[in-house]
């Protein structure tokens, strides 16, 4: 009998190491695996397929004697059976840095297929899959690869953007901590497709567990991806470095200031060379697409949003965690049916989708389907598909203020609307909260938002108006 316990950061933060130690002390073999993504049950213990959670060390005797309540077979749990797990197919099932486990679960098949069909066919497959950048911008990945493949240069780079700074997002972290070889396989396929010899994974410093796992995995499989070489680089606490050009400057050892585009990074990226910059989830989706074909991937989803999206349920939600599903599911299904409403038991007041730059959405719009275009039409964005749930105790004026404050703290300072606008935004919202010239100041915020939206160089200043204006428009009573 083996106790399978996750060594993902969420599990560890919830006490998984102490639970694992207690099982070992009781003479039970412990296997540390990736997380199933059912975070409200962490630390989750699996024995012969049956799950127990959340487990504390004092419950181990009861689990071993069979008297502890279980959640049944984990694989049959509705939270799992309702998902379409392509990217997270191995979640909960394999030891993250075990090459044996990776081989045994169809690892490297996508790369083998890629080497068989050659660079041009790889790009065609990716275009056929309809895969769009999962970092937030939603740009077609195949088109980006085609541009880099067509560029003439002595040196090209693959850069994996693992600077997952948005609140409510943790899918990148879970890929790196749970299935690092899949990400490496995706990067190796990209490198082969565009003719790159060097790859960087830029991971934020707030993710020490992901950094350690990626470093171990890169060393363990270096011989399988050669001559392509991957190096792990660590960020230094700047949110704006999640923006691709800022990330490139940071990799070069500079201040993480945003670059004006053009030139596109695909043509003049890292050290001025053609560079593929893709998010973790984008690259992680690639092995499945190569192994099963572009059309198989495109069969999932709706409209121009093809495939699946690892949705992250966070904040004040009862069943928080990772839920991978085909595009098209509605927000209401995700929040209520899957997420189970709030953790506090109070009514849901709103959700924020897409991190700190995403709009606040009231329950009256919960019929919105998860689709890039549908969200854009509703003045919202999917971003990295993180959903933060708030109950009715939230003060939306404070959340609007925080959006401006966050932008002020994290602005790189390169463009004026973002650098100054955010600070003026905080001051103006403070006036509104204090009840001074409320209508005039609200008009001023609307005007400022317009300037930031259209005048900023990147999404930080450009999208901060989304949470601010959506809070004002949907919850005017909190501002007056």
């Amino acid at each position: 009998m083996k106790a399978r316990i996750s060594d993902d950061a969420v599990a560890i933060a919830c006490g998984a190491d102490a639970v694992a130690a207690a099982f070992e002390k009781a003479g039970v073999e412990v296997e540390r695996v990736s997380s199933w993504g059912m975070h409200w049950l962490e630390p989750l213990v699996e024995m012969d397929g049956v799950g127990y959670g959340p487990v504390s060390p004092d419950q181990i005797a009861a689990i071993l004697s069979g008297s502890a309540p279980s959640i049944g077979r984990i694989a049959d749990h509705p939270f799992i059976t309702r998902q379409t797990r392509l990217t997270f197919a191995r979640a909960g099932k394999t030891r993250p840095t075990s090459l044996d486990d990776f081989y045994a679960t169809a690892g490297w098949i996508g790369l083998a297929k890629a080497r068989e069909i050659g660079p041009e066919a790889i790009v065609e497959t990716l275009i056929a899959s309809g895969l769009r950048g999962r970092g937030g911008a939603g740009f077609p990945a195949g088109i980006k690869w085609k541009t880099v493949a067509g560029a003439i240069s002595d040196q090209k780079y693959i850069v994996c953007n693992a600077d997952e700074g948005d609140s409510a997002t943790f899918a990148d972290r879970m890929v790196m901590e749970g299935d690092p070889f899949m990400l490496i396989e995706g990067m190796a396929i990209a490198a082969f497709a565009v003719g790159a010899s060097k790859g960087y994974v830029y991971i934020r410093s707030e993710y020490p567990h992901a950094i350690a796992k990626m470093q171990a995995a890169v060393i363990a499989c270096a011989h399988l991806i050669a001559p392509f070489v991957i190096e792990v680089r660590v960020g230094a606490g700047a949110y704006v470095c999640g923006e691709e050009t800022s990330l490139l400057n940071s990799l070069e050892g500079k201040r993480g200031e945003v670059r004006a585009k053009p030139p596109l990074p695909a043509l003049e990226g890292l050290f001025g060379k053609p560079t593929v910059v893709n998010n973790v989830l984008t690259l992680a989706a690639v092995p499945w697409i190569l192994a099963h074909g572009g059309d198989a991937y495109a069969a999932f989803g709706m409209g121009r949003s093809k495939g699946t999206m690892p949705v992250q349920l966070a904040g004040n939600v009862k069943h928080g965690g990772l839920f991978e599903v085909a595009f098209g599911i509605t927000l209401g299904e995700l929040v209520h049916d899957i997420g189970g409403g709030t953790d506090s038991g109070r009514p849901v007041r709103c959700v924020q989708v897409g991190g700190p730059l995403g709009a606040y959405i009231p329950p009256s719009q919960f019929d919105l389907p998860f689709d890039y275009e549908a969200f854009a039409a509703a003045d919202a964005l999917i971003g990295h598909a993180g959903i933060t749930v708030f109950d009715d105790t939230v003060d939306m004026a404070q959340m609007a203020r925080f959006a401006m404050e966050f932008c002020a703290i994290e602005s790189c300072g390169k463009c004026t609307p973002c650098r100054l606008g955010s600070t003026r935004g905080v001051e103006t919202i403070d006036q509104i909260i204090a009840g001074k010239n409320v209508e005039a100041n609200l008009a001023l915020i609307a005007d400022l938002s317009e300037t930031m939206k259209f005048g900023s160089l990147c999404a930080l200043g450009g999208f901060t108006p989304y949470p601010v204006m959506s809070a004002i428009n949907h919850f005017p009573e909190d501002f007056r």
């Binding site: 560890i12 933060a13 975070h39 962490e42 409510a168 707030e206 660590v234 201040r255 904040g315 925080f402």
Partner: protein, 136 residues
């Protein structure tokens, strides 16, 4: 590695090595001093202003030494939704540890969350945070 020259030697031949060098200096010395910046600038053929600009840009690098333990407390939206703001007055009422705001530790479904060194903590309440502040 005990001095800046050793750290610099470790990164020789690496592309764009400034951030990895600064991380090592910060980790070993607890801050990046003016002398360290001068030596790094000289070795990488950069101006002191360029190195200073990088050190001051990133939240992870500190120019002055502070030997107190650090608790990074997540103050981002998901942790706010789970009540982190109610913990802040208590955290700010002591000086034994330095409380730094961090915007997301990726533990957004089990907040409030915090990090001390590489150790992560979730589902914090007043009592657990006090215990972290006493033992960090």
């Amino acid at each position: 590695m005990t001095n800046i020259a050793d750290i610099l030697a470790e990164h020789e031949g690496s592309e764009g090595p400034l951030l990895p060098i600064l991380h090592d200096v910060q980790r070993i010395f607890g801050h990046v001093s003016e002398d360290a910046m001068r030596e790094i600038a000289h070795a990488l053929n950069l101006t002191r202003a360029e190195v200073y600009g990088v050190v001051s840009f990133y939240h992870d690098f500190r120019k002055e030494s502070d030997t107190r333990p650090v608790i990074k407390l997540c103050r981002a939206e998901a942790c706010k939704a789970r009540g982190v703001e109610a913990l802040v007055p208590q955290a700010d009422s002591q000086t034994r540890v330095r409380i730094e705001a961090v915007y997301c530790l990726g533990l957004c479904s089990v907040g409030p969350a915090a990090m001390i060194g590489d150790q992560v903590y979730a589902r914090l309440n007043q009592e657990r945070l006090v215990s972290l502040m006493e033992t960090a």
